[in-house]
Structures are given as structure tokens and as C-alpha cells.
């Protein structure tokens, strides 16, 4: 048995490079697709709801009521339409033109001046649960801010000391079936009569101070973009190699190559290497674009970035190679690549959807897909800087998966036709 020959390796490697250079669709996949995707992710994906469309039914036109409405109009969270017809707004809500309706009742201003508890009705569209939660949060924030600003004029004796709703935006987030915490009363559409616990204005002894590390403004884009890069890379990595071995089988070149002295490990490495560099270049492209266009911070070490990208690429390219060598058919390879390369990366990586919140069995599944580790690594490297134990664990797991794929592929592509 002869050992690894660099001449054969480089010959095959050069061949792959030439084929890549000549195939516009490969270059398109490596450079066009990531650019397109980073644009779409960068502009198209955001969890920061602002300018939420709501309707305000104004039944009271006195100063206080209008002042509160102005607070809503002035807030960047909302883009409200003010009207007097509740029914019209309800139709709009059904249609999805607006996501919430606020009703300011008739004697609102009078009761405020008198210092009496004043009802303030908020209807949200439950068919968009996330948006609904945001509207609840933000509306509470706006109302609290308004109270804090106006309470001196309303009842000056209350305006001393700590504001009551510290971190108001967060106080009233309601999860499903969480009635025990509610400070906002939740009344279901079917039963409006259930009791409501009022929001209170008084001096609270405990003051919660929230500090958000790494991303103080809680910009979702800064979090989503590094995650998106991981998604893009896993998609491209798998797709790049998913077709390359299958193509050689379909075109009959595999048979000829197998009859040469080329060893299987030389061939696999030579197939991996060019796509590896191509992948690295796509990565650089993604990182630079996210810097220049979307101004996301970079706080970690370039070394870790390079290391994690490399290991991740080997894992996902290896996955592609494995699919390709196992199916020997471009059509089936392509389909499997979609199923394994994109959908799990998108849904099971923790990039938007929190892994801890998934059922246990789904959580276990997430460990099998390398994007999970890469998403964590990238989010850290961009936002928090190097956290070694975290980095090492994730690098280690990805490395193990990469090794696994490579070994299986090597076994699958023994130099035989059957």
C-alpha cells in the first residue's frame, strides 16, 4: 500500500478548483447566495417591533386623554390611528390592518384629575402572539411613563421617591396561562367579566434594576445577524458539496478516477479543501457585510472566529459529502440537503427560537446538528468576547461531528462500485 501522495492530492485539488472557477452556479452559490441572504436577514429579520399599528378609540376629548394619546403618537413603538368608532377598528383588527386597539373611556380625564382608578382597555390580536406581547409591554411602558410625567400635576403628593415601574417595559410581560403574576389583567374575549388586578401607583420597596450585558439596547439585529451567518454558512456548506460526488457518479467520471492510483482519502481531502476555502471566503464576505452595512459589534477574537468557522465548515461540508456519496444521485442529494442543511439550521439552532423552551426530545435533537454550536459561538464572538469554557465545549462538539462525518464518508466511498 502506498501512502498519501501529495502529487495526486494536488492534481485532484487543482481539478476541483478549475471546475469551481468554470461553473458559475458554484460561484453563485458561494458568493451570490450569501450576499442575498445576508441582505434579507439583515433587513428582513427583526424582532424589534417598532411603529406597531394600533387604533386608539378616543371617547374622551379632554386634555388628559389627549395628552396620553400624544404620548402614544410620540412613542416610537407605535404608529396609532385615532378614531371614535370602535366597530371600525375591530374590523381592522380582524383583517390584520392593526394589531391592537386602545380605548380611552368617556370620563378618563375627570377620574384622573380626581385621582380615581381609571379603566383603560387594550385589545390585542392573539393570532400574532409575539406582536401581541410586545403591544402589551409597550403600551404599559407608555402609560407608566405618562403617569410619571403627569402625576405631579395630577396629585403632587405622590410624585416623590422612586418611580414605581422601574424597567416598566418588562414588568407586565405575560406568558401563556400565567395569571399568578399578572399585573395587567388579562380578560379573554369570551369572558370580559373576570376580575382584574389593578396597576398600582405607590412607593415600592424593591427596586429592580435591569442590566443587559453585551447588547444594552437589546437590538435584535445584533443578535440575529451572527446567528444568520451561521444559518447561511450551514446552508451553503451543505449545498456546495452535496452535489459534487453525486455529479461524478452520474457523469461516469467516478469510475475512471477509481481505476487510477488515487486513494480515497486523497480524493475526499482534495474535494473538501477547495470548498473549505470557498466557504471561508463566503464567511469573510458575510462578516464584512454585517460590519459595514449593519454595524454589528465584534468583541471576540479573530482566532476563535477562524477556528470555529473552520471546524464548522469541515462538519457541514463533510455532511454534504456524506449525503452525496451515499446517494450517488443529484436529485435525491439536493432534497436531503434541503432537509438537513437548512430547515434544522433555521429552526433547531436556537438562532431565533429558544432551545430551552422546546420539548426535551426536540432539545436532544438539536445536539445532532452543528449549526446549534456555531450559532452560540458566533453570537458570543460578536457580542460578548471570548468565553473559553463555552467556546471549547461548542468547538469540541462540532469537531466530534466533523470527525464522525469524515470517517463515515471514508467508509462509504470505498474504492468499489457496489
Amino acid at each position: 500500500m502506498s501512502t498519501f501522495s501529495f502529487q495526486r492530492f494536488f492534481a485532484y485539488f487543482r481539478k476541483e478548483i478549475k471546475q469551481i472557477m468554470r461553473d458559475p452556479s458554484t460561484l453563485m452559490m458561494a458568493f451570490g447566495l450569501p450576499l442575498l441572504m445576508i441582505f434579507l436577514f439583515g433587513y428582513g429579520m427583526s424582532l424589534d417591533a417598532d411603529k406597531l399599528r394600533i387604533g386608539i378609540v378616543l371617547e374622551d376629548t379632554a386634555t388628559e386623554a389627549r395628552s396620553l394619546v400624544n404620548s402614544f403618537i410620540g412613542s416610537h413603538y407605535f404608529s396609532p390611528k385615532v378614531g371614535y368608532n370602535r366597530k371600525l377598528f375591530q374590523e381592522k383588527l380582524t383583517r390584520g390592518d392593526i394589531r391592537g386597539i386602545i380605548t380611552i373611556p368617556k370620563n378618563f380625564s375627570r377620574r384622573i384629575i380626581q385621582g380615581k382608578t381609571t379603566p383603560f382597555q387594550l385589545i390585542v390580536d392573539g393570532s400574532e402572539p409575539n406582536t401581541a406581547q410586545f403591544i402589551l409591554n409597550y403600551a404599559t411602558t407608555v402609560v407608566n411613563t405618562w403617569i410619571n410625567q403627569h402625576s405631579p400635576s395630577v396629585s403632587p403628593d405622590r410624585a416623590i421617591g422612586t418611580p414605581l415601574f422601574v424597567g416598566a417595559a418588562n414588568v407586565s410581560v405575560i406568558g401563556p396561562n400565567q395569571s399568578i403574576f399578572t399585573s395587567i389583567s388579562q380578560v379573554s374575549a369570551s369572558s370580559i367579566t373576570s376580575p382584574s388586578i389593578p396597576n398600582t401607583v405607590a412607593f415600592f420597596p424593591i427596586k429592580a434594576e435591569t442590566r443587559t450585558w453585551f447588547n444594552p439596547d437589546l437590538k435584535s439585529r445584533d443578535v440575529l445577524l451572527p446567528g444568520s451567518i451561521a444559518i447561511i454558512m450551514s446552508f451553503i456548506g451543505t449545498l456546495l458539496t452535496a452535489l459534487v460526488v453525486a455529479r461524478e457518479w452520474e457523469r461516469g467520471t467516478m469510475e475512471a478516477i477509481m481505476a487510477t492510483p488515487l486513494r480515497m482519502n486523497e480524493m475526499l481531502l482534495a474535494k473538501l479543501a477547495p470548498y473549505f476555502f470557498l466557504g471561508l471566503m463566503s464567511m469573510v464576505l458575510c462578516v464584512i457585510t454585517s460590519f459595514l452595512l449593519f454595524h454589528i459589534p465584534f468583541r471576540g477574537s479573530v482566532l476563535i472566529l477562524l477556528l470555529s468557522t473552520s471546524i464548522f465548515l469541515i462538519a457541514s461540508l463533510g455532511q454534504g459529502l456524506l449525503i452525496s456519496s451515499a446517494t450517488r444521485n443529484q436529485f435525491v442529494s439536493g432534497q436531503i440537503a434541503i432537509m438537513l442543511g437548512f430547515i434544522p439550521a433555521f429552526s433547531l439552532s436556537g438562532f431565533v427560537f429558544e432551545i430551552d423552551s422546546m420539548p426535551k426530545i426536540v432539545q436532544v435533537m438539536t445536539y445532532l446538528f452543528p449549526p446549534r454550536y456555531f450559532v452560540t459561538l458566533l453570537q458570543s464572538v460578536f457580542l460578548s468576547g471570548t468565553a473559553w469554557p463555552l467556546a471549547l465545549f461548542n468547538l469540541g462538539m462540532m469537531g466530534a461531528i466533523a470527525l464522525f462525518f469524515f470517517c463515515i464518508t471514508l467508509r462509504k466511498t470505498a474504492k468499489r462500485l457496489d
Binding site: 461516469g252 475512471a256 477509481m258 487510477t260 488515487l262 474504492k415 462500485l417
Partner: protein
């Protein structure tokens, strides 16, 4: 082990997963060193399997193979063997020189040796002018030469070529043979799998496989000699030749008969006891022996003849090409082609690879729009033809465009439906096709899994089920063994006798002998036309008194090329 033998097969069997019958069954043979060894047999006999076993790409289920003393399960086999698979194994998106460099490096040639070897290959294959052309842009013949060169770069001691001449025109085939002959003269052992038996004739040793079993192993002459005194040429006229062929094929004394110009070549089951007038004894060929050993050809009357309704007589030509021209960019694929084909004629389009045959063919059946000129079929211009017009043609393509995932029955049903057959008529036609082509045992099988011969029958059945007036055949028998080919032509001849008009393209010149008229296409232009004998006459010289159609083809092309 004698010094003379290069390859030893010891009791080799191969059974594929999921198959009950072995693809190769206890083959034992030894192949001599330094000669060309032909590997022949009907489709599905196990030729490719044996090739792959000998190159170590498959391992035998039982038994073992040694090549120059190396067992095929050792990776060292690839250091001494060169292999050219059926599709040549070229990277179509690399240039000629890049392909060569790749294979040279894979063979681990030193820098200097590499240059020299590649240079020698350029001289050897005459591909130097095309050095920087993409392999995918080469013609079939050039691809084949390049494939050979790539397999030779490692300077193998044994060379395996799997059907190198399928789909390649006669000129290129001849050149390839010459090249391989040179190599053998220098001491290389060459195994050549083929379904062209004239090639087998020239081999020094032939292995004949059938259904995985080795039927014959030895010099081809040994087998051919068994037919001495049994092969004759019978003179007839142009008009009568098909009738005579049918009569001869129907005779119980006959093993095989073939049309050759205005004569019929026939092989008898046993030698004639006395001389018969007009029967000129001629030398047997290996193909005769091949057909003989496999049990002879089918009967001469296509069952079609009985049930196929005769077409109404039509005086005007059924196919007419008027100044057909097709440009692709600034490349002219067909230039001012005109001809007309009458009812009941078989018209052949011949020419080297890339000459423009397919372009003309596709324009005629409405698949391509001519840049200039017009094509009429059964009086219609198929470009704008209503669907009734198109229902009068039948079309059978090179790769048998059947639905591989559909069963035989479903394919028949589909094509019956597409041609608007309905009700009892449809049931009757389908049953007739099943009966005619003996498709019964395969009805539920996927068309993709049919043996080549049956796939071809099914394709023909689908093309003629609706009783077309005109039949288009695009290389219908490419890569098919002689027995299947003969049977195919029996059916075609039967239909022609009922007034069906046939247009055919082919690389296989023996097949062209069945044509009434031939147009020879070269570089987009029709350079010669006429009956097969007309073409032969054009090249008859004192040195070549009895040219074959292949001789005519090559000579005419060469004359044109030197112009």
C-alpha cells in the same frame, strides 16, 4: 502460470445484491499477454461486470482474478492497469490539456516525464490543435481518443476499454483501432469490450459471454471457421431484395440473413451439398459465428405485417425538406438541405459525429425551428401543425425516451392515451403490441429495468401503436447487439412493406444497408446521396473493387475533408 498469460480468471462469479441470477457465472479463463482481447456478447451478458471485476472496481463473489500476478483486491492493481469506462471518464468542464495533466499527476509522473508523455499523447491522438478546448465541446470521436490518452498516461501494462466505439462514427472507430493496434504491437495487453463484431474479428483472442457464462474463448478465427461453406451471397434486384430477405429468413435452413446493397448475405444451418446457381460462397465473419452460436436470428416475417393495416397509396412525397438551414449563433449546423422521401421508403441520414444529422432530423420532426427553409411531413409543416398532423408521425429516440419509473403496461397506456386512442380500439392495440413484441412477462416491470433489447421493443411499440404514416428513428440500435438489431429491422421492413415511410439516422453502416436511399451529411452539407450501391460505386477503384458501405463513407468524407 505461463509467462504468456496476463490475466487469470479462476472460477469467477458475481451476484449482485437483490438478484437471484448471477451476473457472471463461474468464468475461468486466461488472457494472453501483449495482444488485443475482445470481450463480446449480447446485451446484459455481463461484459461490463467482467471489466469492472478485472479492474478491481468490483470484487468477485467467488473465485479470484489476477492481473500480471496482482490480485484485483489489492490497490496495486491501479498502478498497472489503465481503464476507460463507457462514458470515457472525462471532465467535460476541463480542457483537453487539463484532463491530461490531471491523469498524469494521478499516475504520479515526474515533471519531465509528464511533459514528454503528454506530448507523445498529443502526437499519438492528433489532438494538439484542440489543446485548450473544453472536453465537453469535443466530438464523440475526439472524446474517445482523449479518454484513451487519459487511460494511457499512467503507462499501464494492461489496458481495459469498455465499449469505446458506441455512438462514434466509422472514421473515428478506424482511427481508434489503429492506435490500439500500435499499443499492442509494443507489448501492451488490451481488453476491448464491444458489441461491434467486426472489431472482434480483428482481435487476437475473443471471450464470448452469454447470460454470465463463458461460451467461447480463443482466436476468433477458430469460431469463424466452423461456418466455412455455410455463408453465401445471393444476387437480387433493388426492388426484390426485401422480399427475398424475408423469404430467406423464414426458411428453416437459415441461421442469418442480411441485406447488402442489391444482394442478400445469408448463413445456412449446415453447408450446401451442391452448388446453387446465383449463390456465391463467401468467407464467413465472426458476426456470423456469433449469431450462430447464440441460436440464429428470428423469423423474417414480423408479426406486425399480419396485423398492421396497409396504408393508402399516396403519390406525393411524405417527407420533404426544402432548403433547410439552421444557424446557432454564427455556426451553421445545417446548410441548405433539400430532399424528399416517398411513401414506403427508408431514408438514412449518415455522417460523422457533429456533422448536423441530428439538427436536420430534429427540424424535420418539428423539435427545432429552421432558420431558413421549410420541412413538410405528410403534407404538414410540423412547426405549426395541428395536433392531428402530429398524430400521424411516430418517433423513437436514441436513448429510448421511455418513462423509466412507469411499468411497461403503464408506458403503453400512456402513449396510447397521448395519441388519442380510446375504448376497445385502444385495448386491442395495446394487446396487439404486447403480443407482437412478447412483452407479456415484463408487463409489471419498470421500463428502466428492462434489458436493452426489450426496452428497444417497448420504445418501438410506443412509437407505432397509433399506426403512424411516418416513422422517425434516431440512432435506434446504438449499442445494441446484432441479434436485437436484426429483429428490430425485421419489424421495420415489415412496416415499410405496408406503406410506412421511415427516416433513420445511424452510425452503424451495416444498418444503413437497409435504407433505400442515403444522404451523407458532413459539416452541415449533404455531400452525397443515393442508394447504398450508388455510394459504393462512387468509390470503387481498381484497388478497391468491392467496397463496403463503410469504405464508401470513409472515402467520401476524406475526399471532402481534403478539399
Amino acid at each position: 502460470m505461463t509467462l504468456k498469460s496476463a490475466i487469470h480468471l479462476t472460477n469467477v462469479s458475481k451476484t449482485f445484491k437483490g438478484m437471484t441470477e448471477p451476473a457472471l457465472n463461474k468464468v475461468t479463463a486466461s488472457l494472453e499477454k501483449g495482444i488485443i482481447i475482445g470481450l463480446v456478447g449480447p446485451d446484459g451478458a455481463g461484459k461490463t461486470t467482467l471489466m469492472r471485476l478485472m479492474t478491481g472496481l468490483l470484487l468477485p463473489t467467488t473465485g479470484h482474478i489476477t492481473v500480471l500476478g496482482i490480485r484485483t483486491d489489492s490497490p496495486r492493481i491501479h498502478d498497472i492497469a489503465g481503464y476507460m469506462p463507457q462514458k470515457f471518464g472525462l471532465y467535460e468542464d476541463l480542457t483537453v490539456i487539463e484532463n491530461l495533466t490531471l491523469y498524469a499527476d494521478l499516475a504520479q509522473l515526474e515533471e519531465k516525464a509528464k511533459e514528454e508523455t503528454i506530448d507523445r499523447m498529443f502526437t499519438f491522438t492528433a489532438l494538439r490543435p484542440f489543446k485548450n478546448r473544453l472536453a465537453g465541446k469535443l466530438s464523440g470521436g475526439m472524446k474517445q481518443k482523449l479518454g484513451l490518452a487519459c487511460a494511457l498516461l499512467s503507462q499501464p501494462q494492461v489496458l481495459f476499454l469498455d465499449e469505446p466505439s458506441v455512438g462514434v462514427d466509422p472514421v473515428s472507430r478506424r482511427e481508434l483501432w489503429k492506435m490500439v493496434q500500435e499499443l499492442a504491437d509494443k507489448g501492451m495487453t488490451i481488453v476491448w469490450a464491444t458489441s461491434y463484431l467486426d472489431e472482434a474479428d480483428k482481435c487476437h483472442q475473443v471471450l464470448l459471454l452469454n447470460e454470465g457464462k463463458l461460451l467461447f474463448n480463443g482466436p476468433p478465427q477458430t469460431l469463424t471457421d466452423t461456418l466455412k461453406g455455410r455463408v453465401f451471397r445471393v444476387k437480387t434486384t433493388f426492388e426484390e431484395r426485401r422480399k427475398l430477405l424475408r423469404a430467406l429468413l423464414n426458411s428453416p435452413l437459415m441461421t442469418d440473413s442480411l441485406i447488402q446493397g442489391n444482394t442478400v448475405r445469408c448463413v445456412l444451418k449446415s453447408p450446401l451439398k451442391e452448388e446453387v446457381k446465383g449463390w456465391e460462397p463467401i468467407a464467413p465473419r465472426f458476426e456470423d459465428a456469433f449469431v450462430d452460436i447464440l441460436g440464429g436470428t428470428a423469423k423474417g416475417d414480423s408479426v406486425l405485417v399480419r396485423d398492421f393495416p396497409a396504408k393508402k397509396k399516396i403519390k406525393w412525397p411524405l417527407i420533404k425538406a426544402e432548403h433547410l438551414t439552421k444557424n446557432f449563433g454564427d455556426f451553421t449546423a445545417a446548410n441548405d438541405i433539400s430532399f424528399s422521401i416517398n411513401q414506403g421508403e427508408i431514408f438514412g441520414l449518415l455522417g460523422p459525429n457533429g456533422a448536423g444529422k441530428s439538427t436536420i432530423f430534429r427540424m424535420l420532426c418539428g423539435l427545432l425551428k429552421p432558420t431558413k427553409g421549410e420541412a413538410f411531413v405528410a403534407g404538414f409543416n410540423l412547426q405549426q401543425a395541428p395536433s392531428q398532423a402530429r398524430s400521424r408521425i411516430g418517433y423513437m429516440a436514441q436513448k429510448f425516451a421511455l418513462y423509466k419509473d412507469l411499468s411497461v403496461e403503464q408506458n403503453l397506456n400512456f402513449f396510447a392515451g397521448v395519441y388519442g386512442l380510446n375504448g376497445p380500439h385502444r385495448t386491442q392495440r395495446i394487446e396487439l403490441m404486447i403480443h407482437l413484441f412478447e412483452l407479456d412477462p415484463f408487463l409489471k416491470q419498470n421500463a428502466g429495468l428492462l434489458p436493452l433489447g426489450y426496452a428497444q421493443r417497448l420504445a418501438l411499440a410506443c412509437a407505432i401503436m397509433h399506426e403512424p404514416d411516418v416513422l422517425f428513428l434516431d440512432e435506434p440500435t446504438s449499442g445494441v447487439d446484432p441479434l436485437t438489431r436484426r429483429e428490430f429491422w425485421t419489424h421495420i421492413n415489415g412496416m415499410v412493406s405496408k406503406g410506412v415511410t421511415v427516416m433513420v439516422t445511424t452510425h452503424f453502416l451495416e444498418e444503413a444497408e437497409y435504407c433505400d436511399r442515403i444522404a451523407l451529411i458532413y459539416q452541415g452539407v449533404s455531400i452525397a446521396s443515393g442508394t447504398p450501391d450508388d455510394l459504393k460505386k462512387k468509390v470503387t477503384t481498381p484497388t478497391l473493387p468491392n467496397p463496403t458501405l463503410e469504405d464508401a463513407f470513409i472515402t467520401l468524407i476524406e475526399q471532402r475533408a481534403f478539399l
